[in-house]
Structures are given as structure tokens and as C-alpha cells.
Symmetry: C2
Subunit: 144 residues, 2 copies
């Protein structure tokens, strides 16, 4: 019986893994933290001119998915997901790129990143002195 | 001169519209509210078991883009965007589907929708008595 139970569990998992993607439905696809197959990682990111997101009209908004594969309207989903993974999901840990040259002009842009990183909620807001400075942090995540 | 100026503006817009998408970059693509071509509409949606998002682990997270075209890991981006448009972006305006039958079992699920609808920020959270009840609202947006 333990063997039979193990087989049944294996077959169920296999069937779910094989059939899930074929349905084309997130309802059927077992990408849940609870299922243990993988934790969701998905974001919406915005950028607007201003100091605070609450007061800044979002001029661009892109999406980014990192699980199970990198996708989204972000211009570089693969690079952005790799960078996030390297930073352990900590957007404050993105280093300034060596060689990045920006003026000191103060034309603040505010970035928001909301969503989920490896099953944990993320709600992030950060203001940069200007767009060039924004793009000088890291190499992909904030370059949208 | 006014004519020349008008032509210049037209040519610039045309060049931006034609060349923007070819770069494959959101930086170049003029999908900004400021440009007036279209306002961004992009979301990240989560669902988890519990009454409050702050206390519920997100078990699924999907993305949805509605501008310029419908895309994302949402199982039905086209349907979801059409439904959002019909509701004027008001998630509370989604009607209960006629004929939807759900038990009264209390196993609350909490949905979050964050992002931008036609250039306006959206931050939405709603709790349903169970998953069936969640899916009974509207026909696509919340069915993920």
C-alpha cells in the first residue's frame, strides 16, 4: 500500500505537470507556492516624473514574470530576472554600474515595483534624481 | 511655417510609431501617457488563502497588460482586458455571473490587483468567501 500510494502521488504530479501547461490556464497550471512546485514571482513596475508615486502619473508600466520562465513587457525579462535573483530580490541591493555617467540635473523620477518575489509580497518605491541615475542602478531591472 | 511645423510633428510621431516597436524596448516605445499615444494599463494580480492580503501568502501571481495589446500570464488576457474596459476599470463593478452556483463554505481567498489602468494607479484588494465565489464575479478578470 505505501508503494501504491507513492505511485498514485507520482502519477498525479506527472499528470499535473504534463497536462497543466496544455490547458493554457493558470487555474490548472500548478504554479502555486502551496503545491511546492515553484513559488510565483511576478511584478508590475511603473515610472513617472515626480518625487512620490502617489503624486506622479505613471508614464510607463511594464510587467515582469520570473517563474517558471522570464517573460513580460519589461524590455529585458531574462536580464531583469537574473539580476533580481542575484540580489536575492532586494531592489535596494542593486549596485551602481561602473562607468555610468549622469548629470546632476534634478528632474526626479519615481519607480514602483509591486508584486511577488518567490512567494513573498513586494511593494517598493524609490526616487532617483533623474532618469539617467535610475538607469545607472543595476543593469536591467530598473531599465524600462 | 505653421504647416512646416505640423509636418515635422507628424513625421516625428510617425517615425516614433513605426520605429518604436522595432527596437523591442520599452525605453524607445512611446507608450507613455505623456506622449498621448496611449496610457499604460498593466497589472499584477495575486490570490491567496486568507482574509487579508497582508497575512495571506500569494499562491498564484499573474500579470496582465491591456495596452497596446492584451498579454500576460493571466489565463485570458483578451477577455480580462475587455471586461475591465466594460467596467471602466472598476473592479467592484464586475457583476455576479448568472447561473453561477457556489457552496456557502467559508474558505476565504483574497485577491489583489496592483498596477495601472489607463494611466491611473490601481491598488485593489478583495476577499471572497471561497474560490468559487471569487470566480463567479465577472467572467475573466478574477478567474486566474
Amino acid at each position: 500500500m505505501p508503494n501504491a500510494a507513492r505511485w498514485a502521488a507520482t502519477l498525479t504530479l506527472t499528470a499535473t505537470a504534463v497536462c497543466g501547461p496544455l490547458t493554457g490556464s493558470a487555474l490548472a497550471a500548478p504554479h502555486t507556492a502551496a503545491s511546492g512546485l515553484y513559488a510565483p514571482s511576478a511584478f508590475v513596475m511603473t515610472v513617472g516624473h515626480g518625487e512620490y508615486a502617489a503624486l506622479a502619473t505613471p508614464e510607463r508600466a511594464v510587467t515582469l514574470n520570473c517563474a517558471p520562465t522570464a517573460s513580460g513587457t519589461h524590455p529585458d525579462p531574462v536580464g531583469a530576472c537574473a539580476e533580481l535573483k542575484g540580489a536575492g530580490g532586494d531592489l535596494d541591493a542593486l549596485p551602481v554600474r561602473i562607468g555610468a555617467l549622469c548629470t546632476k540635473q534634478y528632474a526626479p523620477v519615481v519607480v514602483t515595483v509591486d508584486g511577488v518575489w518567490q512567494g513573498q509580497r513586494v511593494s517598493y518605491e524609490r526616487t532617483f534624481a533623474n532618469e539617467c541615475v535610475k538607469n545607472s542602478y543595476g543593469s536591467a531591472v530598473l531599465t524600462f
